[in-house]
Amino acid sequence: MRKLLAIAAMTLAPFASALEQRDICIYDPLGTSGPMFGLMKDYREFALSEGIEIKLHAYTDEKIASDDFKAQQCDGVVMTGARARPYSKFASTIEAIGAVPNDNIMRQVVQMTAAPNAAKYVQSERYEVGGIIPAGAVYLFVNDRSIDTVEEMSGKRIATLDYDEPSIKMVNHVGAAVVPSNSANFSGKFNNGSVDIAYAPAIAYKPLEMYKGLGDKGAIVRYNLAYLDFQLVFHREKFTSEYALKSRQFVASLFDRAIKSIQTHTDEIEEHYWLDLPEAQEKEYDEMLRQVRITLRDEGVYDGRMLKLLKNLRCKENPANAECVENLE
């Protein structure tokens, strides 16, 4: 009997260690040297503990990463929330204009979407979100401090991500001119004066030398226009729902690490560049962005459920907000 068991164990041994192989395409502007690629190298260890061997593929062009994922060249992809819209309207709505005003709300939404009962919201017929990684608030960079009101923005040239519908809508809404751009060229346009305004997270400031475009007169408006994030998206048939849930929970556990990095980058911005808006003006911005969000929801760009979730989180934090009474989201 013991012999039989030993033979059975020997026969089954190779199967016990057999791993499922999966490929993940990662968009990182710096490729294999970049922070997102590095983070996903750590993610591999988690996947291995779940019996999945992940092969990572670096992409410095986000569109190609997305296209390859769509064409099933890879089983999963890491890209910005704005690019992830075709795969999960719910999760990509986290990046909705003005919807996430601070890290605390971002933390709550990441934790919530990693909870077991949130699975139904981050799954679609073909895709499932496997994790959300914060990349920080998006700020307005202006080459003249006097451009601090919506009226002042009218007629100005804004470097606008041309694949991002909400961005175009927003720029049109304030009466500014869209200058089609992408993540690789918007800073160049701002720095050489081809545009008056750009919007970017703090992480872009130092590496892309945006202080050049700010010069002596420019400023960074201390107001969260949106909250940038990276999302890990899976082809559903390639990963089990159990694994996807554990993946979301693992990625959520990296939140503090990501926030620390965001804080370091934010601290690198020289204090004199920050421009604080008067409270009344901030409220004006809040209201304008809310209107744009509602319009985009009605047009089918944003997911109403995520907007509602974010509004409830904002109102929980600050019940006195005007939006909490009206309940339009």
């Binding site: 490729g31 260890e45 291995l48 670096a58 990095s261 370091t264």
Partner: protein
């Protein structure tokens, strides 16, 4: 010197004087001791200072240029790391030798980078063996070594800035040798940024150094500095395609820069080409560039004045090859197989003729 200085002040000597000659002798001896101390102190300072300048000069004129000619990375690592405290100790009586420090820190950074690469291979092997704890540990060790590398390389860059000014805006006036230091300092700056990213940004090297360094390298003549300026510029075009002028194919530019490097025998541009291709996940380009690099080693010897730089570049390229081999097969590039890959078609494996045909 110190021994003479300490002698009269030692407790035994004081005791002896007091016992035999009383208070007057003690008074005179104190004056004598004070006078001797003053003479000795100033004498030592002068000697130290003179010696310091000799070391400074010796390091700049001979040690650094000599180190650049050796082709033994192990010796270069030991020399540059061992010499640092000695050379820098004299900065207490002379001034900081920025050029020597630039070189020593750059080299010491490469040495830490090699250790980091070793850990990254250990990570892959552990991963392949499904040894999660070892994989995690190797990854931590890898990040720690990259942090050391980034710190040293950042120091090297800072010494370049102290010597010549910050790159990126204005070009300093440089003779050939200074241009070599400028090249190395800017490359060290670039590596500091990349290695800090690999270390999870714990060193917090200012990320704008990368762009400044690429612009700084454009101050140099491309031919004179082994194709590095063109390679760095092309690398930036690949990362930010819209910055490339119309009609310029940065991949072609990179290959051209690598040819210049081959002809000159300082193949740092090869390393730039391979790191750029590898960073973007262009495996076929990486393989092609590694093949070209390995082939060039057989046809073009290293520049006799800069053998070390050529060897360091080659080791960086071998590290990429090792990672690819380990990823695919579980072990690094086999001995004598640099420039080949595990999936190359082995023509010797298939017989040219059928045995039966010859025996019929």
């Amino acid at each position: 010197m110190l021994r003479t200085f300490r002698g009269p002040l030692s407790p035994e000597n004081n005791k002896k004087n007091t016992d035999s000659d009383g208070g007057v002798m003690s008074f005179l001896s104190r004056i004598l001791v004070t006078a001797m101390t003053l003479v000795t102190l100033s004498g030592c300072s002068i000697i130290y200072m003179q010696m310091g300048w000799v070391v400074y000069d010796l390091t700049d004129r001979h040690v650094t240029p000599y180190t650049m000619t050796i082709d033994d990375v192990g010796v270069a690592c030991a020399t540059t790391q061992g010499l640092q405290p000695l050379v820098n100790a004299f900065t207490r009586v002379t001034s900081t030798d920025d050029l020597a420090n630039l070189m020593m820190n750059m080299m010491a950074g490469s040495c830490a980078e090699e250790k980091a690469i070793e850990e990254s291979l250990a990570y892959i092997r552990a991963f392949k063996n499904q040894n999660i704890n070892e994989a995690k540990d190797a990854r931590i060790r890898e990040k720690r070594q990259y942090a050391i590398a980034a710190t040293r390389q950042h120091r090297s860059y800072q010494h370049m800035v102290d010597e010549f000014g910050e790159p990126g805006e204005k070009c300093p006036s440089l003779n050939h040798d200074e241009g070599v230091y400028w090249t190395l300092g800017n490359l060290a700056g670039l590596q500091a940024v990349l290695n800090d990213l690999k270390a999870q940004s714990v060193v917090n090297v200012p990320k704008d150094i990368a762009m400044k360094a690429v612009r700084g390298l454009q101050c140099l003549d491309n031919e004179e500095y082994w194709g590095i300026p063109a390679a760095a510029q092309a690398g930036l075009y690949i990362l930010m395609p819209d910055t490339a002028p119309d009609g310029v194919d940065p991949w072609v530019e990179l290959e051209t820069a690598s040819r210049t490097a081959t002809e000159n025998g300082v193949r740092l541009a090869h390393a730039v080409e391979i790191l750029v291709a590898d960073g973007g996940g262009h495996t076929d380009r990486v393989k092609d560039a590694i093949r070209r690099h390995a082939a060039s080693l057989k046809t073009n010897p290293s520049h006799r004045d800069y053998r070390l730089l050529d060897v360091v570049a080659s080791r960086q390229i071998r590290a990429v090859s090792d990672r690819m081999w380990t990823d695919a097969t579980g072990s690094r590039t086999p001995v004598g197989e640099f420039g080949t890959f595990w999936d190359d078609v082995d023509e010797s494996a298939a017989p040219a003729m059928d045995i039966d045909d010859l025996l019929d």
